[in-house]
Symmetry: D3
C-alpha cells in the first residue's frame, strides 16, 4: 500500500450494506454504492449479496464475477445463495456472486462505468472510481470478516482454460500450506501452485496480505458455462465449506492433476493480427518446437500464415478463445505436469 | 424476387472482380465494391477471393464468413486458397473465405457498415446497402458460375451447435437428392435434412432457386474454432470437391448421425432476462419435461430461478452460448435422431 | 398504401403471438418478432400484451408506448392488464402497453434498433426494419380485430402538453362523429378536434382508413408521469371501455375545454440554438405579439437574447420541454379555445 | 484537503481569466482553460463570466450550471449578466451562469469530457481532469474574492424538487447564522437547514471552509425551467444582492415553509428496475406506511407491481423524475415540515 | 428514375421554404425539413439559403456543402450571400452554401443523421431518409427554377486535388457546349471535361437531365481552405454570374490547363492498410512505372514497404490525403494534360 | 516530479522490451505493455522499435508519433529503421517511429485507450494509465540510454505549421548551446528557439532534465505528409546522426530562417464557433491590425462574419487547419523573424 492508499484509508468508504453481518439466519440484500450520473442524479450501484450465519464459527467469503464475463462462479453462488439454509452452517457464509456487478450485468470483463478491472484495482480507494471503491470495501470491510476466501474465476470471453483450482507460493509457508489444503479440497480436475510474477493490485494479494486462506480457480472460459463446468464449481464450493468446517459432511474428492507454469516460456504471445488457427486443443500434450497455432491474413488470400511454435513441452492449458487475434494477445499457455 | 428486386435487377452491380474467372491457374485477388464514406471519399470494400481453374469441368463455389463471427469456414478456406494448386483440379474452384468481409474483419455476425445480416439480405440490390450489393453480386454473378455451392457456417459468438452438414427439403426432388448426396459427402458427425420454415432472403434459397447443388453446415460455435472443428471443415471441403469431380481421390467417409428438427417444439425460447444455467450439455439425450435450463436473477440473490423444460425428447443439438440471456433468445434446440 | 407497400402486403409478417385472440379469459403473453443480431443470432423482440375476452362483443385495442418516452399510457395499461378480469368485460380488450417495446425499454421516442418512429412508420413492411414490421403487424393483424382503438400519447422527453384527448377531422362524417363521441367519453380536461395536416404514415391514419373508432391523447410530457396524469389516463381508459359497451357502468364525466389549432400560426418555431427561457407557462392565455420565449446565448454572457412572440392569441397548449433548444425546434403551440 | 491536494496546491492553475476583477464597470469575458484534444490540438474550454464592479464593497459570487442540466440558475444569471449596470451596484458581482460549461452545453449533469460531477470534484487539482481544474480555480481564485456565494441548483433531468433555498448546519454557529439569513433573504417557497451527511468534495464545503456566506437552492427539476421557476430564481438573486448590501432596495419577502430531512428514513430508494408509477405528487402530505410509488415490470404484463411505502410521515419534497427507474435510484424524499 | 422513385414523385416533399422565390430584393431564410427524433419530437433540419432577385432574368443556383467537409464553396457563398445586393443582379441568384447542412455542421462528408452521401442520393425520395428528402427537394423544386447551376466541391478531409472546374460529356452536344462555356468562365487553374463512368444518383446528373447548364469543381482538399483557394472560388462564382448575364462586368480570365482522365489506369488504388508515403506531390509530372507511393507496416518496423507505381504518365492530379491508408482507398490519380 | 511521481518511481514499469539494447547489429522488435481489456484478457500494447548498434559510441533516441496524427516522423523513421545497417553507425540508434502506438494506429492525437496526450503525460506512472506507463518507460528506461534525443512533430489533423526545428531556452546555457547546435544541424527551412511557458508534463522537459541534447520539430500538419515534407524529415534525421558522430559524412546544410514567438500576442484565439475563412496563408508577412481570419455563422446566411486581426506584425507561422472552428481554438500564430 503506497502513500496515496494510506491517505485514502482514512476516508470512510461510501458503500453501505443493507444486511447485518452479525445476525443469525439467511439474509439477502445489497452493498449500496451511491453513484451520481447523468441518468440518475441520486442513483447507486447495487451489489447483491447473501449472508448465512448460524452462531459462532469460521467465516467463508465466496465470490464470483470478479471479472464480469466469467460464469461458473455466478451460477454456482446464485444457486447456493438461494438454497443454503442457516441450519446447515456452523459459522458464516458471505456470498457475493457478482463482485463487479456493473461489469457482470454488462457481460464484460471490466466495468462499463470506468473500465475498471477489479482484480487489478486493489487496494482500491474510498474516494476513487466505482471499481476502486468496491476494491476498498472488500479490502477494508469484507476481507477482515473472513477466515477463508474463495474467488471463482474462468477464462471469460477471450480465454479458455483447463479447469483448475490454484493457490499461490507465499512467503509464509504455513499460510501457503493452508491455502494448498483449500485448493486440494476444491478438487478440480487440475490444480496449480502459482508463483505470481505480478501480484500487484490483485484481490488475491489483498486477501493473502491479511493472512487469509485464499483459493482461486479457472474453470473454463469463452464467456459461457456448461452443466459440467457449473457442476465442478458447485462441488468445489461445497468441498471448501466442508473443509472449512462450516458445512458438515466429507469433502468429495476427485482426481486432480498438478500443473506448474514455471517461467515465461510457457506463454506464447502473438506478434501479428489475423485469423487464428489453433493446431492443438486444450488438454493435449505438445512438444517443444511443434506448431501450436497459425495466424492467417484477413486482408487477402494466398499469403502464407505465420506459425507459432511451442517453446517448451507440456500440456496445452490455456488458449486465446476468439477466432480473431491481435498483436500482443497471448495465444496459448503450456503447463508442466507435476503429478 | 419481388417488384423492387426486379427493378433493381436492371441496374449493374458496382462490384468489380480483379480476377478473370475464365483464366487457368491460381489467382488471388479481390471483389472491389466502391464505398464512399467519411474516412475515405474514394474508398472501397475489398472482399478477398481465390480462383483455381484447370480446363473445363464443374465449378465449386466455396464460402465462409457469411456471418462474420463463424470461423471454421474462414480457416479451412484460407488454407485451401493458399495450398490448392491448379494441377490438382479439374474444372474450377472459387473460394471466398470471408463472404461478408466487413463483418468478418469486425468479428461480428452482421456488417458494421449497415448492420446487414448477409444471409437475410438476398436477393440483394445493386443500388442498396453494402450488404445488399454483396448479396446481389453473389446472386447475379457468382452463383450462375457454379455447379455446386458449399457455404460453411458455425454458431457464431451467441450459439453453439453439434457439428452437422445440412441440405433442404426442396420442391424438385432430383435437386434435393443431389444436395443430400453432397451433404453425405461432407461427412460431418451429424447430418440434417431441413424443412426451412422461413427461407426468405437466404443465400441458400438464392442458390437453390438457380438449381444448384447447395450444402450448408453448422460446425461448432461460440465465436471460436478448434483444431478439431477445423479438421472437420477441411475434410468436408475436400470430400465435397472430390464428390463434385473437381479433386481426384475418394471421399473420406466418417460416421454420421442423421438428425431432424420437425417442428417448433424443438426450440426452447427464453421469456426472461438473466444469468443462464444450462442443466444439460450439447450432445446429451434429454427427455420431455426435463429441466433443460434455468435463468437466475442478476439484480438480486435469493429469488428462485425460472426453469425451462424440454417440450420433446431428443438430442440437445444447439444452445445459447453466452452466460447471460435476454428475453426472446433461443435457449436450446432439441433434435430428433433419425439414424 | 403505395406500390411498395402493396408488394410487401403479399409477404407474411414474421411476428407470431403467443396468445389466442379467440380464447375466453385473461391471457398474458407476447408478440414475438424474430431479430437476429450480433448479440443474439437467434433472438427476438418480445412485445408484451394481454388479451381479456368474455364471449362475443366489441373489441377495444388499447395501446401505450407508441413513442417510447411517454408514460401515462404504459402505467395505466400495465395496471389494467394486471387487474382486469374476464368477468368484468363483454367482448374483448387487447392491451399493448409498450407498443414500440425496444423504444420503451430504452426510454427513447424512437427505436434504438433502427431509430424508427413507430407513429411515422405505417403502413409498415413485413420485410422491413423492426419498427416497420411492428407497424405492418398492427395494420394487418391487430387493427382488423378492433372496433375501437385508443392510443395514449404524451409529450415525451422533449415536449409538454396540456392534457387532452383528440380525434381527427375525417372525410366520413359518421365515422368522425363516432370518434368524437369516444373522445368525449375519455373526458380529459381538454379535447381537440384536429385537422391532421400531415397524416401520412401515422397509426391514426391506418386505423381510420379501416373505419375504426380512433381516439388519441396527449396527457402531459417531459418523459415522466405523475399521480395526477396517470389518474387522467386511467379514468379515460375506463370511460372509453364503458362507452364501447365492454365494461359495465357509466362514463365518469369531467369538465373539458374544447381546443382548436386551426393553422400554422399556432406554432412558434425556433431559428436559434441556445438556452430557452419560457416567458409564459402551459395553460396561460397569451395575446398576439406578446413575448412567449427568449433564447439566450450559451457561448458568452452579455449578448441580448432573441425574443419569440405569439403570432396569435390563445391558450399556451404545448411547449418545448428541455432547457436547451436547437434551431428548428417547435418552441410553443398556441391553441384557440372553442368552448 | 488531503496530501494529494496539498501537493497539487503548489502548481499553478492553467485557467486564465480574460477579465480584470479589480476594474470598475461591466465586463463580459471568459475563464479560458487550455484543452488539447483530437479535434483541436490547441483548443480551450471557455467558461463565460461577467464581472460588474463599482468601487469598494462586498463581493457576491453567483453561479448556475454547477450541474449541466439544471436551468433556473443559467437563465436568471444570463439575464442578470446582460442587464446589471455598474451604477446599480456597490462592490462587485461575479456571475458565472454555466459553471461546468462543457456539461451545460451538452445538457448533461456531468462533463462530457471526463464525466466529472463538478459538485463532487472539490478541492480539485490544477493538474487533474478538466472538471478538477475548474474546481481548483473556483477554490483557489474565485472563492477567495467573495463574501457571499450563491449557487443555484435544481433537480436536473432525473430529479424534481419542491422549490427551496438551503443552508448547512455548520460548526461555526455565527457563520451558520449568516448563511441562514442569506437563505431567508432568498425567499423561496420552502427553506431547508441541512445537515450534510456527506459533505465531502462539494463546492458548498469548499466555500464554507473559507468562512463564506454560502446559499444553495433546489428550484424545480426535470431538465427544464418554467416562467414561474425562473421568476423565483430572479427574485432570490435580487434579494440576496440586496441583503448583501450590493444592490439598493428592500428584500422582497414571500412566505416560506421551513423543511427538514432529519435522517435516512426520509429517502425511499428503489431495489428494482422498471416502470415508475408515483402514487403521490410533489407537495402532498403523506403518512407513514402509505404506498408512495409502484414499479411495474417492463418485460411482461400481468405481474403485480412492487410497492414502495413511506417510512415516515411528511411532505413529498423530491422525486425521481424519469418514467423508468433503475435499482438503486432514489424514488422519493419525504421532508418534515418545521414551520 | 426507377419505379420506386416514380411512385415517390407523387408524394409532396415535406420541406418548406421560409422565403418567396418570386419576391424582389435580398431574403435570408431556411429550407425547413421536419425531423422528429429522440432529442426533439417536433424538431426540424434547417438549411440556410439566400435569394437575391431583381426583376426578370436568368436564375443561377449556387451550392456548396454538398459534401459536408469541403470548405471553399461554403466560405465563398456565405460571403456572397452576405454581400450581394439586389441592385447588382438582373434575374435571380439562389445561394445554398451548406447543401447537406447536417453533414456540414458535423464537418463530415456524409450526414450524421443517416450517413447519406447527398451526391449519391438522387433522385431522392420525399418519404425517404433526411438526405433523400433534401435530394428530392433540389430535384423537384430548386433545379426547375434554375438556368445555370454551379456546385462547388473540393476533396474533403480524405482527398486533395489540383484546383479545377469541370463539366461532363453529355449526349446533347449543344448542352455540353453551354456547360463547357460555363466551366471556361469559372477560370480555375485547371479545367476538366469528364466522361462520368458512374453518373448514377448524382446531383450533376439530376441537373443535366433537366437540361440545365451545370458546372462543378474540385478546389483543393484536406478538410480545410486557404486564402488562395477561397479566392479561386470567389472569382469563379463572380465569373459564372457575369457569364450568365446576372452580374454586370466582364469575366476575369486566368490561364487554365485542360486535363483529361481517359480511363481506369489513371487511378491507383491501395490493396494494403498502412502508413502512406507519397513519393510525388500534387501537380508533378510522373512517368509510367515510377514509384508514386509506398505503404509501410504500422504493426512492426523492419519490413519492406509495398510500392505502388504509375500505370500511365501524366500529371499527379489527386491524392489520398490522410497519413494512414486502408485497403481499397484510391491513392492517387494521374491525369493527361490536353492543353 | 511531485510526491505522487516519487512514490510511483519505486514501482517497476510493466513494459518489457523484446530486444537487447547492448547487442550489436540490427534488431527489430517491440516494447510490450500488458493490457488486460474486454476484448483480450491477456493482451498487450505492442510498440514497435528498432535498435541499431555497432560498438561503443553515442546513442541517439529518435521518435515519431508522440502525437498519433503527425506523419513526417513515422514515415522517415520507418524508412530509416528498414534501411539503416549496423556497419553504417558508430554507437547506437534507437528508433521508435510510433511512440504513442495506440494513438498512431487510430490516427488520432491522443490515445483511444485513455485519451492520453503523451506529450503532456510526463513524468508518467508505472501504475497509471497506458499512456502514463509509456511516459514512465521513456523517462526511466530509454532516455537514460540516450545522448541526443530527436522527437519529430508536425501539426497533426488540426494545426498546420511552417516547417521548423526547435530547441528550448534552458537554465543550463551549455546544454542549451548543444541543443541549438543540434537544431541547426537538422537544417529545417525555419528554426525556433522557444521559451516554453508551460513546459510541465512534456517529453521535452523530461529529456532536458536529464541533461540530454533535445531537438524537436514541427514539419507541416493537417494529418498528412508530402514527398517534400518527408524529405525534410529524412534530411534532418541524417544530419542529426552525422552531427552526433553516429553516421559518417557531412551535415547537408540548407538555408534556415530563425523565428521567435516572444509573447502571448503571437497567438490569435477564437471566441466564436463557425466556418473559418483564413484571409492570409502560412508564410505570409502580416501587419498588426490586419484582418487575419473571419468566422462565419453556420446556422444562417446573411449575418456579418466576426473578424480577427493581428495583434502584432510578423510571419504567419501556424494556423488552425480544419474548415470549422470552435470557441477557444487557436486560429493563427504570428512569429517574429529574427534572421
Amino acid at each position: 500500500m503506497n502513500a496515496i492508499a494510506q491517505a485514502a484509508a482514512t476516508v470512510a468508504n461510501p458503500i453501505t450494506c443493507t444486511l447485518d453481518f452479525e445476525q443469525d439466519g439467511v439474509q439477502h440484500g445489497f452493498l449500496k454504492l451511491p453513484y451520481s450520473r447523468d441518468d440518475s442524479a441520486w442513483g447507486a450501484v447495487m451489489i447483491p449479496l447473501t449472508v448465512v450465519r448460524n452462531g459462532n464459527g469460521p467465516t467463508a467469503l465466496l465470490t464470483g464475477g470478479n471479472h464480469g464475463d466469467e460464469y461458473e462462479g455466478p451460477v454456482a453462488l446464485s444457486k447456493l445463495a438461494q438454497q443454503l439454509q442457516a441450519g446447515q452452517v456452523s459459522g458464516r457464509v458471505i456470498i457475493v456472486p457478482f463482485m463487479n456487478t456493473p461489469a457482470f450485468q454488462a457481460g464484460t470483463r471490466t466495468s462499463p462505468i470506468d473500465r475498471g478491472n477489479l482484480n487489478r484495482s486493489f487496494p482500491g480507494r474510498p474516494d476513487g472510481s466505482v471499481t476502486e471503491k468496491i476494491a476498498d470495501y472488500f479490502r477494508r470491510t469484507l476481507l477482515p470478516l473472513a477466515d477463508i476466501v474463495l474467488d471463482i474465476h474462468s477464462g471469460g470471453r477471450t480465454l479458455d482454460f483447463l479447469p483448475f483450482a490454484a493457490c499461490h507460493v507465499l512467503p509464509d509457508k504455513a499460510q501457503q500450506a493452508r491455502c494448498e489444503a483449500g485448493m486440494q479440497a476444491f478438487a478440480a480436475p487440475y490444480s496449480m501452485r502459482m508463483l505470481e510474477l505480478d501480484a500487484q493490485a490483485m484481490y488475491d494479494t489483498a486477501a493473502e496480505e491479511q493472512g487469509k486462506v485464499f483459493i482461486t480457480t479457472e474453470l473454463g472460459g469463452g464467456g459461457t458455462s456448461t452443466a459440467k463446468s457449473v457442476a465442478l464449481a458447485e462441488r468445489g464450493v461445497r468441498n471448501v465449506l466442508i473443509h472449512a468446517g462450516i458445512l458438515a459432511g466429507e469433502v468429495e474428492q476427485g482426481e486432480t492433476t498438478l500443473l506448474d507454469m514455471p517461467d515465461g516460456d510457457c506463454f506464447i504471445a502473438s506478434e501479428h493480427d489475423g485469423l487464428l488457427e489453433m493446431c492443438r486443443d486444450l488438454g493435449e500434450t505438445v512438444r517443444q518446437g511443434e506448431v501450436i497455432a497459425r495466424i492467417h491474413d484477413i486482408r487477402r488470400t494466398g499469403s502464407a500464415p505465420v506459425e507459432y511454435r511451442a517453446r517448451r513441452s507440456g500440456l496445452l492449458a490455456a488458449r486465446h478463445f476468439p477466432g480473431l487475434v491481435q498483436c500482443g494477445d497471448t495465444l496459448a499457455v503450456i503447463a508442466d505436469v507435476l503429478a
